[in-house]
Amino acid sequence: MSTVTQYLTIWKSAPRFRLSVWVLSGLSLLLIWMIVISVGIGAVSISPIQVLAIVLDQVGISTNGSYEAVQQAILINIRLPRVFLAVMVGAALAISGAAMQGLFRNPLADPGLIGVSSGAALTTAIAIVILSTITSPLIEFLGSALLPIAAFVGGISATVVVYRLSTTNGKTNVATMLLAGIAINAMAGAILGFMIFLSNDDQLRDLTFWTLGSLGGAMWSSVWVVLPFILAAIIFLPRLSRGLNAILLGESEARHLGVKVERLKKMIVVFVGLAVGAAVSVSGMIGFIGLVVPHILRLWIGPDHRFLIPGSAILGGLLLLSSDLLARTIVSPAELPIGVITASIGAPFFLWLLLRNKEFGGYL
């Protein structure tokens, strides 16, 4: 009984803890609601009750819900994989952003700093401009998987290069990592520019759309392929939260609090590299989420990674899902690039938070 009272005292006396619990619960409910709503919206509309009936029938629980076969086909084959992919990619980008900002002790860091997005962009450009023009059995065999594979390989390779450059004798220097990331990004940018120079008009259009991101090609197969990488980040990054909190005081300070700092850094780079590499390979480059979602949450619930990291996953999923819903509906039957939407929803909200917090002094 006394323990209950004690925890109740914490609950009462720690407003930020209370706020964080409410915000995370609220966001989770909102995400579930948004998933149900957005699978029903489109050229063929499906009501939430029909959605429930179709899903239950699909998993073997018979219902008497009335729906048409076309609704079922659209929901199962088109809408659901797309919605899941949006949530996963959004979660992966945002959770990675939160972890990177903690690791670099800098709220302006984003997952791209370790080179993963620019590496992916570079190999995708090579795939679009050069590989797709040559005929070889391997490339024919890969077919539509060529671009995702190229992006994933490029993203991971760039991350490995950045990590290696900044690590000597098993110790990673975060400042060197930042600079190495900038150098690798610049180099990738230069080669990307050269690819653009070589490309014809169609290739240029493909490339440009890729860099603005899209979830248009979502299928169950892409969901299953990226799931393990993103799930690994969502499961394991939150376990590093306490260490990340301590690292904000400084690396030595964290070590003196018992944190295995080198292991922590390595794990963050591995999980972020894999999750962002997987996300970029199926959706192209979607900016803004990784930088701004953790930032928005930090302004809202404070910098504690134990709430910030899972919260970023939820809010990132929610924001990308909402953006994708807009991207595919407002100019229907055409689709807007999703990067356009993420930035135009996120930026004003972010500015509003900044202005609201300005009067309290700190904005970090």
Binding site: S13, R16, R105, A246, S252, L257, V259, K260, D304
Partner: protein, 271 residues
């Protein structure tokens, strides 16, 4: 508790620490003094494991420092480094709660909360509890960090079992009254089975509170002993390149050091 034997640290061809040995034991308040660049911080960082030593050995409770896991070490040794920075807006209480990291997994328990609040009260920063840490003044930050050290070692202090506190200039931003509050607290801790090692610049604070003083010069131990042993005009003058007068403290059994005028060319005459 912590035994440093013949520590030498060399970076490039520059020897920062030469053959320094020190024994930090529970119940003793040890202080390192010395000029800027004498190797004090380097020596401390070697003891904490932040810097690699070129030669020598460090033992913690008879075991080699390198063989001990960070978490085990953190449960009985707290280290307060110079100018720790924190750009993210944790509250002061959240910073102190971080001191509980080696003791609890996941979220802090009510006990951690109670300990942290008590530590803040002891240091006199309980009124800052809900303030955002980056908005605090330099002195306030330093005191909150000190409360974090206290929270880290609380269990050991309560059980009266041995533990170690290492502080690199913990008073540099504090006013007169707070300097003595912290020194007094540290002195009390050292009487409760805590081994204390502190780097200081104020000779009189060291004279008043320390049990053992190690004066370093050019990376070496220049003098080692009780305040009355080492506070001799010739030792202090040599170690600090500054003429001094030393007298007996009017109220306490300790020396009192007053710097004398330096007989050197003034800057103005060079112009």
């Amino acid at each position: 508790m912590i035994e440093a034997k013949n520590i030498t640290v060399q970076i490039g061809d520059k020897k920062l620490v030469r053959d320094v040995s020190m024994n930090i034991t529970p119940g003793k308040f040890s202080v390192i003094l010395g000029k800027n660049g004498a190797g004090k911080s380097t020596f401390l960082k070697t003891l904490t494991g932040d810097m690699k030593k070129t030669s020598g050995e460090i033992f913690v409770e008879g075991r080699r420092l390198e063989s001990i896991q960070y978490q085990h070490l953190a449960q009985k040794r707290a280290v307060m480094m110079q100018n720790a920075t924190l750009a993210f807006s944790f509250t002061a209480l959240e910073v102190v709660l971080m001191g509980r990291t080696p003791h609890t997994h996941g979220f802090e328990t009510p006990r951690d909360q109670k300990i942290s609040r008590e530590c803040m009260k002891q240091v006199g920063v309980d009124h800052l509890m809900d303030r955002s840490f980056p908005t605090l003044s330099g002195g306030e930050k330093q005191r909150v960090q000190f409360a974090r050290m206290l929270a880290q070692l609380w269990d050991r202090i309560e059980e009266n079992s041995s533990c170690c506190l290492m502080l690199d200039e913990p008073l540099s931003s504090l006013d007169l009254s707070n300097q003595h509050t912290i020194m007094h607290l540290v002195k009390c801790l050292s009487r409760k089975n805590v081994a204390v090692l502190m780097i200081l610049h104020d000779l009189n604070l060291a004279a008043q509170y320390a049990d053992e003083i190690n004066i370093m010069k050019d990376g070496r131990t220049f003098a080692l002993g009780t305040p009355n042993d080492v506070f001799k005009p010739e030792i202090i003058e040599m170690a600090f390149d500054c003429p001094v007068h030393i007298m007996q403290h009017p109220h306490y059994q300790c020396p009192l050091v007053i710097a004398a005028k330096k007989e050197e060319k003034s800057f103005l005459s060079a112009v």
